[in-house]
């Protein structure tokens, strides 16, 4: 093919094109991060260090006591590690004015946002699955007794963290104190989702299945994910194109 040959546009349009463009952004972000490992290494190292340091404060033989705060501890670690990762999400686009290139391209801001959010989601999930065995080892907790329900809660809670974090990463990308602003804005908004995820994770870590008592936090988590995904998608164009 020669550069002088006329360009041909694929007939794909609508949802198919939207999904393909979003996954193109996801692939680009994952490839970039896996090559540099800037945010990934920092987040994984941070998670492990925090888990190890906290383990010194508790008696690892008192596994019942540990199970009671396991959800809280894990989600705090995931949230702090997530802030490190999510901060980089749009900062990466500032180098060489890459964000301008993306905004000038015919991809909707929603597609761009969801593509980046999916990449962050995959990376955060990877960090969590590295952290869980470390947690089990240092706190003497059999964390996989309710493995699949736990995976479900991790998926829901991590999406809540990802969607809010990616949105505010876009909002704060031009601020000089973005490293401070992102957690300051994200953590208060995350409280309902975090409380739900902590409650549900604690229950599952203690080996019990989710029962009727857990239906409220579960519904809260699902509602949080839906509402904040829709809000982020609706407002991201306004945030990105000032």
């Amino acid at each position: 093919m020669s550069a002088r040959q006329p360009v041909r546009i694929e007939p794909r349009a609508g949802v198919g094109l939207f999904v393909r463009q979003a996954f193109t952004i996801t692939g680009k972000d994952l490839r970039s991060e896996l090559r540099t490992k800037e945010a990934l290494n920092a987040s994984v190292a941070f998670s492990i260090v925090i888990l190890v340091l906290f383990s010194f404060a508790f008696d690892p033989l008192a596994s019942e006591q540990v199970e009671e705060f396991s959800g809280g501890l894990l989600w705090l670690v995931f949230t702090f590690a997530g802030a490190l990762l999510l901060n980089r999400s749009f900062v990466r686009e500032m180098q060489n004015d890459c964000l301008d290139g993306l905004l000038a391209a015919p991809i909707s801001a929603a597609g761009l946002f969801l593509g980046k959010a999916l990449a962050n989601y995959a990376l955060l999930m990877a960090i969590e699955f590295v952290s869980l065995p470390v947690f089990g080892l240092f706190y003497n907790v059999r964390w996989a007794r309710q493995f699949w329900p736990l995976v479900g809660i991790l998926l829901l809670g991590t999406w809540a963290l990802t969607v809010i974090g990616t949105f505010f990463s876009a909002l704060t990308v031009n601020l000089r104190i973005r490293e401070l602003m992102l957690p300051t804005l994200v953590y208060p908004l995350m409280i309902p989702a975090l409380m739900s995820a902590m409650t549900l994770t604690t229950r599952l870590m203690s080996g019990h299945p989710l029962g009727p008592d857990e239906s409220l936090p579960l519904r809260m988590l699902v509602a949080f994910d839906i509402v904040f995904t829709l809000l982020s998608v609706a407002f991201v164009d306004t945030v990105l194109v000032g």
Partner: protein
């Protein structure tokens, strides 16, 4: 326009490539652009001139849909500048190269080919790498490229999807001789194909040789907009002396 390619999306506006009406842009209390209005017909090449801080970049960013005006409207080929149908037809080359250092030259161009929904993105990317003389380093990471190579790759990115409207912000700045020659060739070819070009620049000689029209910005306002005149080419300073000082 672009008669070489009848398969493209139908034209949205048969006459004007660009309609700018009463654009104002404020950064806080500072008015970067005040009541800017002009029309650019299809096939024109507009040299957007003005001193530093005159508002050239602000105007180009608004036209490219990268920034929203505080007031006024911009129609690109008949559509709102932020509509995807308009952006599909715009090629932008700004101050930054808009390329990812940690991706290879091919990966960068394929990324944009996919975002523009082009068929055979890899072949398209390789064709443009060949055109810009980068085929030997097509799998090299952009961070390992020299400044001139990065600029040529940025030019390839801007032309990759054969845009009907080219918006270039100081495209000759920091280019090496080879990249300048390449860009001049591509701009001349684009003009011959009937594409519309709007470029801001401080290189008056190069710009005026290519331009059919000239827009001069002065402190955020249009000081002159019209056809390029012969005296502008003969004496590049004439424009500034006549309309600015």
């Amino acid at each position: 326009m672009n008669g070489a390619n009848p398969d493209r999306v139908p034209a949205l506006d048969p006459v004007n490539a660009l309609d700018v009406e009463n654009i104002c842009k404020y950064y806080g209390d500072f008015a970067a652009l005040r009541d800017i209005g002009f029309r650019v017909s299809r096939g024109s090449t507009v040299a957007l001139l003005g001193r530093n801080g005159a508002g050239k970049t602000s105007l180009l960013r608004i036209v490219a849909g990268l920034s929203k005006p505080s007031q006024g409207t911009v129609r690109v080929l008949g559509a709102d500048a932020r509509q995807e149908s308009a952006r599909r037809r715009i090629g932008v080359l700004g101050h930054g190269i808009s390329l990812y250092d940690e991706l290879s030259a091919t990966e960068n161009l394929m990324l944009f080919a996919r975002l523009y929904n082009l068929e055979e993105p890899r072949k398209r990317a390789h064709a443009w790498l060949e055109r810009t003389g980068l085929e030997r380093v097509r799998d090299g990471l952009v961070r390992e490229f020299s400044r001139g190579m990065r600029q040529r790759l940025a030019v390839a990115r801007a032309f990759l999807h054969e845009p009907d409207l080219l918006l270039f912000d100081e495209p000759f700045t920091a280019l090496d001789d080879r990249a300048i020659a390449l860009l001049q060739d591509l701009l001349a070819e684009a003009h011959a194909q009937g594409r519309t070009i709007v470029m801001s620049t401080h290189q008056l000689k190069e710009a005026l040789e290519l331009a059919t029209h000239v827009a001069l910005l002065r402190r955020g306002q249009i000081a002159y907009f019209g056809e390029r005149r012969q005296e502008m080419i003969e004496d590049a300073g004439w424009l500034y002396r006549t309309f600015e000082d």
